[in-house]
């Protein structure tokens, strides 16, 4: 296009400052996953230099051409707001995929605790284990479909679901919140087993508790990010 063969504005430090300031302001206003934000900034940087080259080809000196390019691209707040739905979808998708990936690992850790502490040890499991299993089942019944939905509506299905980004962020926030609740139930169960039921097999218990604490922290932050992304769409 118009920037082919033009190398002048890239070399101009004043033009660099103008475009750099614009991109810094834009980056400050973008939410969403860091990789998605960086990709947007890199893409718009290329676009700004292409626009600068076009204005320079029309007779403007490099700095004026850069200023014209920035003006042409518009207010960074408005540009960043335009990316809101895409970044909300990216956030929901990333959180949904993360939960679907880590969920089986955390679950396997807790199944190992049950196996090592009671099933393989030949001990009778405490009655409260049934309650914990029922609560975890309830959490899974919410978290898994919500996480799958967040991934589904932020991908190809978005052609048929115009509300995809909002739904993706909401579903991912729901899934992450459910995981927080599930981890709290499991950790409470571990404490109760230790105090009232003679303890658990500790190598497996420590592993599962560590995994749940890590996911509790990450899922809590992910839920807040998803809610913030959804709120930015209103």
């Amino acid at each position: 296009m118009a920037d082919a063969g033009l190398t002048g504005p890239d070399q101009d430090s004043a033009a660099h400052r103008v475009i750099g300031a614009y991109l810094a302001e834009l980056a400050d206003r973008l939410g969403g996953p860091p990789a998605a934000r960086a990709a947007i900034v890199a893409e718009l940087e290329d676009g700004l230099w292409a626009a600068t080259a076009t204005h320079q080809a029309g007779g403007s000196p490099p700095e004026a051409a850069a200023r014209a390019a920035v003006a042409e691209f518009g207010d960074p707040t408005t540009v960043a707001a335009g990316f809101g739905p895409e970044l909300a979808a990216a956030t929901g998708r990333r959180v949904g995929l993360g939960l679907l990936t880590t969920g089986p690992l955390v679950g396997t850790g807790w199944l190992l605790v049950v196996a090592a502490s009671w099933t393989r040890a030949g001990r009778e499991p405490p009655p409260a284990l049934g309650v914990i299993a029922a609560l975890v089942g309830l959490v899974l019944a919410v978290a898994v479909p919500a996480a799958v939905l967040s991934v589904a509506v932020s991908g190809r299905l978005s052609s048929w679901l115009p509300a995809g980004p909002r739904v993706a962020a909401t579903a991912a926030a729901t899934a992450a919140s459910a995981c927080v609740a599930g981890d709290l139930v499991l950790l409470a169960g571990l404490v109760a087993s230790t105090v009232f039921a003679g303890g658990v097999a500790w190598p497996a218990g420590l592993l599962a508790a560590g995994a749940s604490c890590a996911r509790l922290n990450l899922a809590g932050r992910a839920a807040r990010r998803c809610l913030a992304a959804r709120a930015s769409l209103t």
Binding site: E43, L48, A51, S158
Partner: protein, 112 residues
């Protein structure tokens, strides 16, 4: 022509701009401007996010390359995008023929 006026036709216009071959985001904006004599001058905050949305929907795909030491993202139509463009054209022809007939007070053409 403002973006709001083109609401509902934005996807078709972007797909049409990419029909001739891969373009980066600013080149898509320039193609629409040049192809409409400057009448279609869509803002950055509309075009770039719409390209991302079309990619998410599988209608276009992007590739990163290096251009003058900078990273450049170029977009091209997918097979699904070509089919969607054909659908957009067909819908537009029907819509514009209907509205033109009504606005100009002509009788609806009946098959011979």
């Amino acid at each position: 022509m403002r973006a709001e006026v083109l609401k509902g036709h934005l996807d078709g216009l972007l797909l049409a701009a990419l029909e001739a071959g891969p373009l980066h985001g600013y080149a898509v904006m320039e193609t629409l401007r040049a192809g409409s004599g400057g009448r279609v001058d869509l803002p950055t905050g509309t075009v770039y996010p719409a390209l991302h949305r079309l990619e998410r929907a599988g209608l276009i795909r992007s590739r990163w390359s290096s251009e003058g030491g900078r990273r450049r993202r170029s977009y091209e139509l997918t097979a699904a995008g070509s089919r969607a463009l054909a659908g957009e054209r067909s819908s537009w022809r029907e819509f514009s023929a209907t509205v033109s007939t009504l606005l100009e007070g002509r009788p609806w053409p009946t098959p011979a």
